[in-house]
């Protein structure tokens, strides 16, 4: 029996009809638009070592959002909130003076770290400094700090997502839907509270897209080292986003 064009049309229509569309996510899109524009330099950091990794990966152009033990360096203090570590304003820059890397506002928890970060940045291949200049957020967590079981304790990582992103790397197997789509960006829902140990991270903006979550998992495994993070960034993230980033002239 010949499969005619009309039959194909009919079958495609029937097949499409099987897919029941969800509610149009209008508000979520509008919220994401705002965040995508306002927080192009966005990086969610939890944990000191993780923040080093974040700075290595993201350069100075990042915002920090996290709890205790979450050293942060940020260029967007108004959008950040920490518990007990308010952000210090950047020292005024003299007229005509060049902007110094690392001179932006930062958490009071971060002074030592920022100095270290400056040193690290100087040694890092330049493209890595561009990683977080898209509208996405990289969520780095500290392999050595319980504070960093953020994603795992949030309990919303889909089983297998880690494996999809990083084949062979063990990941949490916690059912749920609040954090998802790691392979091309994890969406964290509105005002998700990420409770971890003695710290709580509360996301302030409606929706975040997180490209990578790394840290100590509930079972004690450490999926990524800083070096692996950097390798991942170079291997996956830059290849995907670098053209757009470069053309946007951000950095």
């Amino acid at each position: 029996m010949t499969y005619t064009d009309d039959r194909l049309r009919e079958d495609l229509g029937s097949l499409a009809a099987q897919f029941v569309p969800p509610e149009p996510p209008v508000q979520a899109l509008l919220n994401r638009r705002v965040r995508a524009r306002r927080k192009r330099h966005a990086l969610l950091v939890a944990g000191t070592a993780a923040a080093v990794a974040g700075i290595v990966a993201g350069g100075i152009a990042m915002s920090g959002l996290g709890g205790e033990h979450s050293s942060k360096v940020t260029t967007s203090p108004a959008r950040c909130s920490t518990q007990g570590y308010p952000l210090q304003p950047a020292p005024p820059k003299a007229a005509g003076a060049p902007r110094v890397r690392g001179s932006g506002p930062r958490s009071t928890a971060a002074p030592v770290f920022a100095a270290a970060a400056d040193a690290i940045i100087a040694t890092v291949p330049r493209p890595l400094a561009y990683i977080c200049t898209t509208s996405r957020i990289l969520l780095f967590t500290d392999p050595n700090n319980t504070n960093v079981r953020v994603a795992a304790d949030a309990g919303r990582l889909r089983s297998g997502e880690y494996q999809r992103l990083l084949p062979g790397v063990p990941g949490p197997d916690v059912p749920g839907a609040m954090v998802r789509r790691l392979s091309n960006g994890v969406i964290i829902g509105n005002r998700t509270k990420l409770t971890t140990g003695n710290a709580r991270v509360e996301l302030l903006t409606p929706m975040y897209t997180v490209d990578l979550v790394a840290g100590t998992l509930r079972d004690g495994t450490t999926p990524l080292t800083v070096r692996q993070l950097m390798d991942w960034a170079e291997r996956v993230y830059l290849r995907t986003f670098a053209p757009a980033i470069t053309s946007a002239g951000v950095g």
Binding site: T2, Y3, V26, V34, S183
Partner: protein, 185 residues
């Protein structure tokens, strides 16, 4: 905290967004189902379709002023979606190392279900461009010229891609051969 779109300064440019937000919300409300189903056919997966539609609409929203003034905003949004799908498709080729296990089906009295399942899998076997050509041509019912504009290629390419895709679909969907195709997986 509900965001306000009025008077926000985005990238240093003052934008009164309320009207844009309303227009966009109206557009999404009216077109979302269609776009979603098209995305389902393009991706073959509802979750991926959800991602795809959202990504496309987000891009559309950022450029909504330009899009709404275009002659055919639908075509504009479809173009974004197809391009986004191709981009994700390329990325997925790099990232996904293990193919999902195929679920084999056997012929049963409800042949319609079987046929649609076979069509779904046959679509998944097409290249991204071929699939897009078929979906746009036979589901969206667009002309070859419109498909060419969306795929950003020549009409001749649309014809050749569609022809190859149809040849594959016909081979798979022709009753006898299609079942043999299933059985030989």
């Amino acid at each position: 905290m509900q965001p306000s779109f009025v008077g926000r300064t985005l990238w240093g440019v003052g934008v009164a967004d309320e009207q844009v937000a309303e227009e966009f919300a109206g557009y999404v409300a009216s077109q979302f189902a269609t776009l979603y189903r098209t995305a389902c056919l393009l991706t073959g997966d509802q979750r991926a379709a959800d991602d795809l539609v959202q990504a496309a609409l987000l891009k559309a929203l950022v450029n909504w002023r330009r899009i709404r003034d275009a002659d055919a905003p639908d075509a504009y949004v479809r173009t974004i979606m197809v391009n986004e799908h191709r981009r994700q498709f390329r990325r997925r080729l790099r990232l996904v190392l293990v193919r999902e296990p195929r679920v084999e089906t056997i012929a049963d009295p409800t042949e319609r279900v079987d046929d649609l399942d076979r069509l779904r899998r046959a679509l998944a076997e097409l290249s991204g461009r071929q699939r897009a050509a078929v979906v746009l041509r036979f589901y969206e019912d667009l002309s070859e010229a419109e498909v060419a504009r969306i795929l950003q290629c020549s009409v001749g390419t649309v014809k050749s891609q569609t022809s190859r895709a149809l040849a594959h679909l016909r081979r798979v969907m022709s009753t006898t051969e299609g079942r043999a195709h299933d059985l030989h997986r």
